[in-house]
């Protein structure tokens, strides 16, 4: 079963970061890649799909990646794949959420619990990384972003409860994105 990934729909200007931080929001880098829903079946079969529930057209997962995720049967991970948009980074997934873990449905858990779960994963491959979560000076972090792969930040409420992921759009209210200035968009 495909689970729709929690993701921000609304954007805010950088001047608002501080007020969100004051409300307890945490921040993660927004990688400029292709969102991946990594579903691991109970028998260890791994399927990588985009945020529109489509297969990747221009990317084939490395065998090591499938092998790694297969060690978490009956799980669903969410990450951003860097491969097609930047020549400097290939075949790298940054994990930032987990919706199902070893058979446990994580709907009803709060973000902080799922981030703690992700932190405990032992990742041995440089191709799979856990996206770091920041609790303070998010404005400073935003202004320090310089990597071309960093599109901006996503601010999330760590106390927010994960809602049903079988339906798209139920987990957009507890997160917002802040984009770095770019010629195609910006406040």
């Amino acid at each position: 079963m495909y689970l729709w990934p929690p993701r921000p729909e609304k954007a805010i200007p950088a001047s608002l970061i501080r007020s969100f931080e004051a409300r307890g929001f945490v921040g993660q880098r927004k990688k400029n890649g292709t969102l991946q829903v990594i579903s691991v079946a109970a028998d260890g079969g791994v399927v990588f799909r985009t945020r529109r529930n489509e297969p990747n057209k221009a990317w084939t997962p490395l065998p090591d990646m499938g092998k790694y995720f297969a060690s978490f049967p009956d799980s669903v991970f969410i990450g951003e794949l860097l491969h097609s948009k930047h020549a400097s980074v290939k075949n790298t997934i940054f994990l930032f959420d987990v919706l199902r873990y070893l058979g446990a449905d994580l709907v009803g858990t709060v973000l902080r619990e799922r981030l703690d779960l992700l932190k405990k994963l032992h990742v041995l491959s440089p191709n799979i990384q856990i996206l770091e979560t920041y609790d303070k000076d998010l404005t400073g972090l935003f202004h320090s972003l310089s990597e071309p792969t960093d599109e901006g930040l996503v601010l999330k409420d760590p106390k927010a409860t994960l809602r049903d992921c079988k339906r798209d759009g139920l987990n957009t209210g507890w997160q917002v994105k802040v984009r770095r200035p770019h010629k195609n968009y910006g406040f």
Binding site: S15, L16, S19, K166, R167, G173, W174, F187
Partner: protein, 230 residues
């Protein structure tokens, strides 16, 4: 063989790429854009504030014990009141195959509606051909030179949607906690008897204000100004 049985299927409409627009100065566009940016920013803040309100309302709606669909709630806080509604999921948001499977497993009924009727349509290429249509009007079969693809077939599409019965059954079977997000949408419709816009602006200013960013921008302006002098 009739022209209906041989009808070709209409292709799905394709989106055409837009031509690049020429630049033109329009007075008032900047003010309009600033207000637009402000509303979008406040919209994002509003959505995040709604999460806690909806979480609390949701808990009230799924905690009912009488196996009946609960009535709307009336929330209040200070000068504000709100109608808090557990609405049926819109037919514009059809159930996915996985959700249909889930409802079948749980014994929850749903509706199947025709999202697009299967029908025959006149090929737009001939729709304005008055002479041709006149002949058709007289005798469809007797027209000489009638193009083979005069009639096109538009394939029908059905979708599964939530019905009132779905929600009543969800409550009757005490499955609201598990299924409310699949079958319903929570709506909060606030009202203020005498909206205090001054207070609203003060709140917006407090939410939007970031002194450090403001100072940084002033500093950047000063640096640019001094660089120009040099």
């Amino acid at each position: 063989m009739s022209i209906f049985s041989q009808a070709k299927t209409l292709p799905e409409p394709k989106t055409k790429a837009k031509a690049k627009a020429d630049g033109v100065e329009i007075k008032g566009l900047e003010d309009y854009s600033l207000i637009d940016a402000l509303l979008k920013s406040l919209g994002a803040v509003k959505d995040t504030l709604a999460v806690a309100i909806k979480d609390e309302s949701r808990e009230l709606f799924v905690s009912v014990k009488d196996k009946k669909r609960p009535a709307n709630l009336k929330g209040f806080d200070g000068a504000a009141t709100a109608s808090i509604q557990l609405q049926k999921r819109s037919t514009r948001s059809p159930l996915s195959a996985d959700e249909v499977t889930l409802l079948i497993e749980r014994g929850i009924p749903y509706d199947t509606v025709e999202a697009r009727a299967e029908t025959f349509v006149i090929n737009p290429a001939y729709a304005n051909d008055g002479a041709l249509l006149g002949k058709i009007d007289k005798a469809l079969k007797g027209v000489k030179g009638l193009p083979e693809d005069f009639i096109l077939k538009q394939e029908g599409v059905t979708s599964h949607v939530v019905s009132d019965e779905s929600i009543l059954t969800m409550y009757a079977k005490e499955q609201a906690r598990e299924l409310v997000d699949t079958l319903c949408t929570l709506a909060v419709k606030p009202t203020l008897a005498n909206p205090d816009l001054k207070k609203a602006l003060q709140l917006a200013t407090a939410l939007l204000n970031d002194e450090r960013v403001a100072k940084r921008e002033i500093l950047m302006d000063q640096l640019k100004a001094s660089a120009k002098k040099v």
